[in-house]
Amino acid sequence: MDPWTIPPAEILPNGPAILPSNLLTVDGDRFVLAQAKAGNREAFRTLVERHSRAVFRVAYRITGSEADAEDVVQETFLRAYTELGRFEARAGFGTWVHRIAANCAIDVIRRRPKHIVAGEDSEAEPLLARLASPAPGPEREAAGRQMRARIEGVMQELTPLERAAFTLRHLEQQSIEEISGVLGQNAEATRHSIFRAVAKMRRALGPLVRTEP
């Protein structure tokens, strides 16, 4: 159905009702999006409120920094607002803002000075503190902390493309085609980015997880 078409009234009033909850959930983004594109700021606000947490999660996983992720969230919705007129609802609004967020996050990583890694900046302590395992036992806690610190270290060593590709494929479960669209490269290059990222992970973390046969 055309995204701007209101469902036919024949299903009213005895059939399934056209309820606000339907308009706002099942096909909700389309309805709200039509309003937002027409300049209804409350509708855009609804989209922002609905997608903020997911955008933050992607941004944090790619940047590895809470402050950077917050900036990415803001930049993402600012760009989305600016480009809303160009957005065609072939993909969902959520997919579209994820794409913008991934690109903003890549830009953030690229702008970082080479010598800054997450383990050395001002967020290192709270990040490592959060990594502490709630499981009982100081040894297990220490092992968990060591593993997570190592993962964070490896993530920082990945190139922006590798990090984004790995995050979107493994953590966000996106398809190779979707990721290729986000990163603006072909499927083979995307596969290669993911492969390099996982290979680096494997070399750095393998010794910590490998058990003797």
């Binding site: 308009l23 706002l24 855009f44 609804t46 922002v48 903020s52 494997r202």
Partner: protein, 258 residues
């Protein structure tokens, strides 16, 4: 024995291997303990990477993002930078607003009780307008009904001891989103009475959303008083009945509104 290559292993564990490659790895791993160990280690590595925690953001995070974002949007409209005007979307939204105001104002001011009704379906365009009006009125009427029922349930909760309002917070969150959309639409359309009612509803819904999920008896009584002080349930009932009456006249043109 030649072991599996790294590329094979990674594609297999990530689920990117095709059927043939997958069968090849399965067959090899069945015979090779070393490669089974490598597969297990790679899986453990990826699971550990997936377990890296992401800082929690609460239910009101979206509102905080919006508070920071809104001043940066300025007074411009969405899609302002060089984007072509999407007239179709604009017209669709305008039609919704017109349908709201048309249904109410036409019903209120231009229809005499004794006057024979004009057939709604005199033309295809008129049919489409009527359909749209009915849909919009049904949606708005349902929003008012649901809100009324939800508030009635809340104020009638048993307030002995603590009161768990987590379920009510969930519906209040949904209603809040819908309320903002309808409020702006009806205000733009000039239905100021309904806009004012929806204005009054928003702080109450926000109150419910941002309250602790378990209220003491005193907190609950205070919340109930805020709802009752505004006579919201009564206003919702009257306005909802008005909207339903308008909707009925569009479905059965001969029927009088009360």
């Amino acid at each position: 024995m030649t072991h599996l290559g790294e590329e094979q292993l990674i594609a297999y564990v990530l689920g990117d291997a095709d059927e043939y490659a997958r069968a090849e790895v399965d067959a090899h791993a069945a015979e090779c303990e070393t490669c089974r160990g490598e597969i297990a280690a790679l899986r453990a590595t990826l699971e550990a990477a997936a377990d890296l925690p992401v800082p929690e953001r609460g239910g009101d995070y979206g509102a905080a993002v919006w508070a920071r974002l809104e001043p940066r949007l300025g007074t411009s409209r969405a899609g302002r930078l060089g984007a072509p005007v999407n007239w179709r979307a604009w017209l669709a939204a305008a039609a919704i607003l017109l349908a709201v105001v048309g249904a109410f104002l036409a019903g209120r001011f231009s229809r005499n009780a004794g006057e024979p009704q004009q057939a709604v379906n005199t033309s295809t365009a008129a049919d489409r307008r009527a359909i749209r009006d009915r849909v919009v009125l049904a949606a708005l009427g349902d929003h008012l009904d649901r809100t009324e029922r939800a508030l009635v349930e809340l104020v009638n909760s048993d307030a002995n001891g603590t009161v768990d309002i987590s379920a009510e917070q969930s519906w209040a969150r949904d209603l809040l989103e819908a309320n903002r959309l309808y409020r702006q639409s009806v205000r733009n359309a000039g239905s100021l009475a309904i806009a004012s009612l929806l204005d009054d509803l928003e702080p109450v819904l926000l109150d419910i959303v941002h309250s602790p999920s378990t209220l003491s008896a005193d907190e609950f009584h205070a919340l109930r008083a805020r709802i009752e002080d505004r006579s919201l349930v009564f206003k919702l009932r009257v306005t909802g009945a008005d909207v339903r009456a308008r909707q009925r006249t569009l479905i059965h043109p001969g029927e009088k509104t009360s």
